[in-house]
Amino acid sequence: MFSFCSDPSVLSGLPWFVCYLTSATHLDFYRAFGVVMLLLVVTAPAALAIGMGGAMAIRARFAPLSLLGKAYVNIARGVPDIVFFLFVPIALGQGIEYVLHHINCPDWDQPIRQGNDFLVCREAKMPPIGAPAWVRDAYAFGMAVLAFALVFGAFVANTLHGAMQAVPHAQIETAEAYGMTRAQAFRRIVLPQMWVYALPGLSNIWQILIKATPLLFLLGIQDVVYWARELGGQKTTLYSYPHPDWRMWYFLALLGFYLFLTWLSERGFGWLTLRLSHGQATAEGERMRRAAA
């Protein structure tokens, strides 16, 4: 990065550290923090959307839909995360290729499974053959987001369903007595009020999501944990920057990073709770009403 870093073997002390911490692999390490944040930023709304769909499916009066919602929530919550993360990208990836294969290559005469190998025709390859590296990265990242969103969506669905039930039933009856339809009552009465009941549960899920991001490593994405282990391990004199086993310091830095994220989200959720409690029939809402009066 800096011109004086061209020959690290003659450096020592501070310049060595400056060069070391700005080496190409370290820049990849710093970028990996961005990847983790991006995952959180993309996955959270996706999980919320899936969870919303799941919660509404569970509440649906159409029995098969309600059953489907319940099945999804229970399966995704019950299966260990790690199994789900290994299963979804592989099964989905091969499923997409299988479907594309049948659409694009109907006259392919060889079996798709040959012994251990999974073989589809060239047109069915996803990402396409010859795709640039960033497309492959984006595809792998998309799969990861989907796996995360499916797992966490199930927890969100359960939380949101509980929150919808927590809105005082008398209010819904009153709304219907005023002539609102079920959908109107849901949109005008339940939806605006449920968030304050959902927040504690959602903040839990958000924290667990933050803690689960190192699972990215399982999906072949080089995340912060991969780099901490790779960079922290002992480097022999074969490397430009030889050093003993420093994994402890790297993992300490990760600890700091994750604690910082936790602190930041605690503040965010505190602010949200305060805002959403305004005018609510909850203890917090009542306290705010009295303070203002």
Binding site: A24, L119, E230, G233, Q234, Y241, D245
Partner: protein, 247 residues
């Protein structure tokens, strides 16, 4: 659109039949954590090492465009079989057990010595009765499991050395070429324990069993490099003058 795709499929079949893969990008997978075989160069951030140099040379000879992928060691074979890349060059020894799942080219490194490393002053008897650390899913791990010693497995090779330093393990069994820099860098803290052991059938390129065309292509390129001495030159460059060379 559909007819276009059909034409493409026919074309692909024709290419597969003649073994002409030149227009394709061949994806090579490596672990990037096993110096000097393959490692991530900390100054450039790129994959580096003997296998990087050899792989690039082979692709050039065969007229292929190659692209490198870093993959975790434990899932490197499943991802090959699933078609996420086309070949493995990751210091992988040719063994019977692996031959059941994938196929190999001829070896590009002779069967080489594996060695035990221990803290200075350790007794040789720990080789048979102590706790031996090795990377999981390696021939060395298999060797320890078959011996009387207790096996302690780690997902990356570097962690085995750390376990030895913490005295979680009495010794480490790994490829000698990987261990030499650790021993020389340690200023006498680590030393080789007893004689070397010879394991496996050399190191080769792992390829899907159904991919005969690609295997033949790389086989020919390796044979060519063996014949003109350029493979030996690469081995000496990366493993020193004492490394075993092809006749």
């Amino acid at each position: 659109m559909k007819t276009l795709n059909l034409g493409g499929a026919a074309l692909a079949l024709a290419f597969a039949a003649t073994g002409a893969l030149a227009q394709d990008v061949v994806r090579l997978a490596s672990e990037g954590a096993y110096p000097p075989y393959n490692f991530i160069n900390d100054a450039t951030g790129e994959l580096d090492g003997y296998e990087r140099a050899l792989g690039d040379a082979l692709c050039e000879r065969a007229g292929l465009t190659c692209e490198w992928v870093i993959n975790d060691w434990d899932t490197i074979i499943p991802n090959l079989v699933a078609g996420n890349y086309d070949a493995i060059m990751a210091g992988m020894s040719i063994t019977e057990a692996r031959m059941e799942v994938i196929s190999f080219t001829q070896n590009y490194l002779l069967p080489e010595a594996s060695a035990y490393v221990a803290l200075a002053g350790a007794d040789v008897s720990v080789r048979d009765s102590g706790v031996i650390a090795a990377q999981s899913n390696t021939i060395q791990a298999g060797h320890v499991a078959a011996s009387g010693a207790d096996l302690l497995e780690f997902p990356t090779p570097d962690e085995t050395i750390a376990a030895l330093r913490n005295q979680e393990a009495d010794a480490v069994l790994a490829d000698k070429a990987f261990l030499v820099p650790y021993v020389t860098d340690s200023n006498g803290e680590l030393e080789f324990l007893g004689d070397d052991v010879l394991l496996g059938g050399g190191i080769g390129m792992g390829i899907r069993q159904s991919d005969d065309a690609l295997r033949a292509t790389f086989d020919a390129a390796i044979a060519e490099m063996k014949a003109d001495g350029s493979l030996n030159a690469l081995i000496s460059e990366w493993f020193g003058d004492e490394a075993a060379l092809y006749e």
